[in-house]
Amino acid sequence: MKNALQLAYLVPLFPLLGFLINGLGRKSLSKSLIGVIGSGMILASFVVSVWIFLQVKDGNSYVAEYFNFIHVGSLNIPFAFQIDQLSSLFLLIITGVGFLIHVYSTSYMHEEPAEHFGRYFAYLNLFVFSMLLLVMGANYVIMFIGWEGVGLCSYLLIGFWFKKTEYNKAANKAFIMNRIGDLAFLIAIFWIIGKTGGVSYHDVFAFASSTGNSFSTAELTGITMLLFIGATGKSAQIPLYTWLPDAMAGPTPVSALIHAATMVTAGIYMIARSNILYTLAPVTLNVIAIVGLATALLAATIAIKQNDIKKVLAYSTVSQLGYMFLALGTGAYGAAVFHVMTHAFFKALLFLGSGSVIHAMGGEQDIRKMGGLAKYMKITNLTFLLGCIAISGIPGFSGFFSKDEILAAAFGKSPLMYGIGLFTALLTAFYMFRLYATTFRGSFRGTHEQEHHLHESPAAITFPLIVLAVLSVIAGYIGLPEFMVHGAHKFNDFLSPIFAGSREIIESRGMMHEISHSTEWILTGVSSLLIIIVVIGAWRKFSARPELGEPTGFGKVLANKWYVDEIYDRAIVQPINRFAGFLNNFVERLVIDGLVNGVGRLVNYSGRQLRWLQSGQVGSYVLLMVLGILIVFVIQFFLRK
């Protein structure tokens, strides 16, 4: 029953169809039809993905070449898909979560006029298509196509309400910052092509792990660093993370799908995909770990002081992504991917929940104007709470398992990292419950008619919430850590073929730092305990008297996101702008064009001067002639020999 894998092309094909139908028919089709098509296509590809997953679970993997994308001389870049454990897993996440979010959107975006409704779903489908391309591609170029494709879609969706200029600016910012990363990615690709003459994963990894004619460590470090910079762009890591919070300008479901569940994890996917290269480049790994950790901490600190419900979630996303990179940096690729999955569930859940809240509040996003929503919207409240618990890593919930694994790996690398990681986890728990408490507990602080309108959202919204809530509770159990139940880490077993190469290398180089089960128990215990304490503290503090005033002192710095945006603006954007202005107004106008016109003017001028020779006086004419004769004679007879 191999044929499922041969049907892989269907997975991206359905969303593409959806995009075309909705895109072209957006004027003619009815909203409901559009919604059905949009979600239906994703559902279809979800079904196929499940089918594929079942195949892959049995340890099959498959590379399908469809046509020659680029074939020049020795360079051959086929348009090919690679179906293996990693990609199939991502297929599930993308299509699964994607489907739920589509369903959610049908209700959430219902106020939009039909045309824009169609446009929305077209974009959304296009996004899913590109994302699938990204994860299914069998070589870096296809991946890059998807990579920029999702960038495009995120640009389009952030700026979906294109009448608002600041939204468009946010969209531009997102695209441009991604482009910076993409450039690095591209250069890495050039480099790879230059070395290996190809870009397909199989060849590249084979070349990398082959002895003899292979990459030098320096080259590998370079390539992996470049790829990582690409990842920082896409996955919002220092220094390129600032676009993600602004990206919240888009509709909430978009934030859930693109800026929480899927696109932003592309960076993790890419690194996990090229794990061999990274394993061979330890320097890069350290950098990744540090950057990841730093990002996690920074974002968490900022999140503490945010009052926009979506901004909080956005920064927590950044922070969680930081976690994942930390995992990658410590070589725990499995853990990273594991966290990707769980995070996809609970962060999507949280965003959708916040969406539901915003929906109910009539577009209000400031948590200071909320409060006590629990009694108005039961399901949302419950699911949101579950999400918070999951992300905070309270034992028994999915977040706990994945995060714990990461912390363990960090400890294995260095206790300091563990310490910071743990601290970040505590911060996470703190701001999440600050958010929850301020929003759902206490008394309502909004205007009167807002309160009047408060209501639970329709089924199309609550259904996804419920599903995701369930997932974010149970998802962790497929990855029970070794020290609890032996051999219960189904997840790692499933992915092991992908990371087999790296593991061998690590073992061969003795870079494995096993930490004893007892240690792990202690660590887990400590972390869980601390987290629970923090949670309770936060709950009590903010449900009783949420902070409503403007932050002061250090809090102000945090509230202003460490002024990073301002610094970037001052240090990079404005200088470039001014320089460009200088070129445009001075160099171009005066110097270069001035030179050109100068030549013309010179000709004119000398023309005017020469005219004076033409004095009109016979005498002077003859004199000049005689002088000419004189000069020639002198030179001819006395100087020229």
């Binding site: 005498g619 002077s620 004199l623 005689v626 002088l627 004769i629 004189l630 004679f633 002198v634 007879f637 006395f638």
Partner: protein, 165 residues
């Protein structure tokens, strides 16, 4: 010996006359000095026994052409110092330029193979009208005829320009 003296005498006269031509204020004097120069040159012709040319020179130049000049000058009654003298600097420049030219050419030619050669009065009769005439109407007949075209055009021109209308 006698020819030596004659040569120097005539040369001096010619040069002096020429200088007077370009220096004397009154145009009439210039004409007269020019005629003097021409006579001196005719003298040289005779020394170089080009008798025919000597005569022609006197008849055509000193006789016809110069008289023509004289008529014109009279006609315009320029016979007094009418000409306001040129700007002094221009004068100097002109003189210097001419002088330099003289120096340069002389300096260039003074040591050529001509040094060895000379042109003095010996028995040579190529200058006699007989020999010249023979050549003129045999070898040089074509240019001779052609020069008639020149005269024609000059005649037409003079009439065309000169006649009132």
């Amino acid at each position: 010996m006698i020819t030596q003296i004659l040569f120097w005498l005539l040369s001096v006269v010619a040069l002096f006359g020429a200088l007077m031509v370009i220096t004397s204020k009154n145009p009439v004097y210039s004409v007269l000095w020019l005629i003097v120069t021409f006579f001196a040159i005719s003298g040289h012709y005779i020394l170089l026994n080009a008798q025919f040319l000597a005569i022609v020179n006197i008849i055509v130049y000193a006789g016809a052409i110069m008289v023509l000049f004289l008529f014109v000058i009279m006609l315009m009654n320029l016979n007094k110092e009418t000409e306001p003298s040129r700007n002094r600097w221009v004068k100097i420049a002109g003189a210097v330029a001419g002088g330099c030219l003289l120096l340069v050419i002389v300096a260039a030619l003074k040591n050529t193979e001509f040094n060895t050669q000379s042109a003095t009065v010996v028995t040579g009769d190529i200058g006699l009208i007989r020999n010249l005439g023979k050549d003129l109407f045999t070898t040089f007949v074509v240019p001779f005829e052609i020069s008639s075209i020149l005269f024609l055009s000059a005649m037409v021109g003079a009439v065309l320009i000169g006649k009132k209308d």
